[in-house]
Symmetry: C2
Subunit: 339 residues, 2 copies
Amino acid sequence: MKTTGDAKILLAHGGGGQLSDELIRQRIWPKFKDGLTELTDSAKLELTSKSICFTTDSYVVKPLFFSGGDIGKLAVCGTVNDLAVAGSRPVALSLSLIIEEGFEFELLEKILSSISKAARQNNVAIVTGDTKIVEAGAADGIFINTCGIGVRLAGVDLGFDKIKAGDSVIVSGTIGDHGMTILSQREGIKFQSQLKSDCAGVAELTCRLLEDVKGVKFMRDPTRGGLASTLNEISKTTGLSIEINETDIPVNKTVQAAADMLGFDVLTIANEGKFVAIVPAGSADDCLGICREHPLGKKASIIGEVTETTDVPVVEIKTRIGGRRIVQMPYGRELPRIC
Amino acid sequence: MKTTGDAKILLAHGGGGQLSDELIRQRIWPKFKDGLTELTDSAKLELTSKSICFTTDSYVVKPLFFSGGDIGKLAVCGTVNDLAVAGSRPVALSLSLIIEEGFEFELLEKILSSISKAARQNNVAIVTGDTKIVEAGAADGIFINTCGIGVRLAGVDLGFDKIKAGDSVIVSGTIGDHGMTILSQREGIKFQSQLKSDCAGVAELTCRLLEDVKGVKFMRDPTRGGLASTLNEISKTTGLSIEINETDIPVNKTVQAAADMLGFDVLTIANEGKFVAIVPAGSADDCLGICREHPLGKKASIIGEVTETTDVPVVEIKTRIGGRRIVQMPYGRELPRIC
């Protein structure tokens, strides 16, 4: 079949006519034929349970391709992770593209292949989609939205309300890898070749954890705003305080060096393949064991605990040299378009 | 509570820190508190069935506000309609915003109120969301993605494969209203005040139709590409032909005048509150009766029938003056950013 407009996306590819049909049938559909069995506007799904999790995320990361991933892989893994930390097994994703006129088909092809591969790796099917084209200058290359449906794990009920003083705080691996990779790549700084985003889907590991250890209370993936944001949100919502130990927080050396050089606190830097879990102190070692057996949890660590609040709820860190400081909710201007 | 940055969206509102938290807690959450009971990344839902429909759409319409609606109302109704025509009852939507730095809070407020109102009117809850901010120039104001989950109606099984020669083709009302409204507004032409988008959610009507009349075979909302695109897709996929009668196709006079003046074929113009239904000839009058009792189906009409294909499958129209012509799949360049 001949395809009109071989090199670049045209506005007409979004018009709902012949060219849209070509774009979808020839370039997009073939990547996702397993899940997208029919080109109707809605997917029909038979779930294994009526209890589900449902989530959405739009991805606007810049640059589109980075060490360790690209916007496509991120769009799958990020949404998989949101379902995973909610205590569900991800089953189906939607895929919605907003593409700028003039975007190269070659790049689109790479991104779609990456989405397809990440979906397979994470055992989720892309079951429904949408493509919109906007004129040159009205978007920045490509934005991707994925929504996800996960089937809730039986007997698992995570929530802020389960968290109590004395609970342990676990992080599943090194922090800051994604954010420092993106940032270094944008700044074009030297050690970028040694940095690599942690972009990965953690559902296999979280499902194993939740199935094998009873009583896990809460999980969250520390993306935008990093560990600092996640812990502050837990503290703010529960009214409890959190104390963490700097020496127990796993950080790759290059990430730490990049953060120091660029003046960032690694606690505020985004992650895309990690989770924070709040677990009863008595189960913390079991959880750690399960994490460390999994490729994505080898560097998991118990980084601190939930404590009673004396004055106002705070997140406090015991520093490497024995001091203490408050870990504040980051203001938000650090890293635009990190995911 | 004091809000930082009162008039306009800042990049930092998307950073995942304090300002993101403010934006979400103070401006977005209050509009959707019914469905968004907890600010976690995934919604937990208890469905009434394991058989669901799942759909996604990104909305990039320009201008953001138009006669009869705005991007917010459109983002709810469009996704509701995709679920409706798939034979399901819409229950939950996600809401994902991509906002350009500098976008006015006042406009955001209007759009969110509109989303909230449309969700209530259509009996769906906004249950999960996401907000991304991109720098000025990297998007055009605001783009909205909604995904939807609908519970499939028992005993209803719609599909291209059910369609047979002899079936009737029904359209639920006048065509071209949405597209011509947007286009006229963009062009600033005179009669725009008399044009009004048909933007509406048709799920109440489609559910009634599917529950009261057995044997409805297929439904589709003729959005981008209009009736021409929908009928051609049916013809192409089934291998059957379709014959429609121009005199039976309901078109508002002002829409027809606008289309004639601007040189558009009204058959190719987008609709946002209409559906096409393929029904057995024997049930067509019953279907019409049900449609006409509903405010959104008052001008419903049987516009033609599915026929055997003699040579290649075609959509043919018998014109007002007794001629015949082929209705082609539109090429797609007519109307960018119509939805």
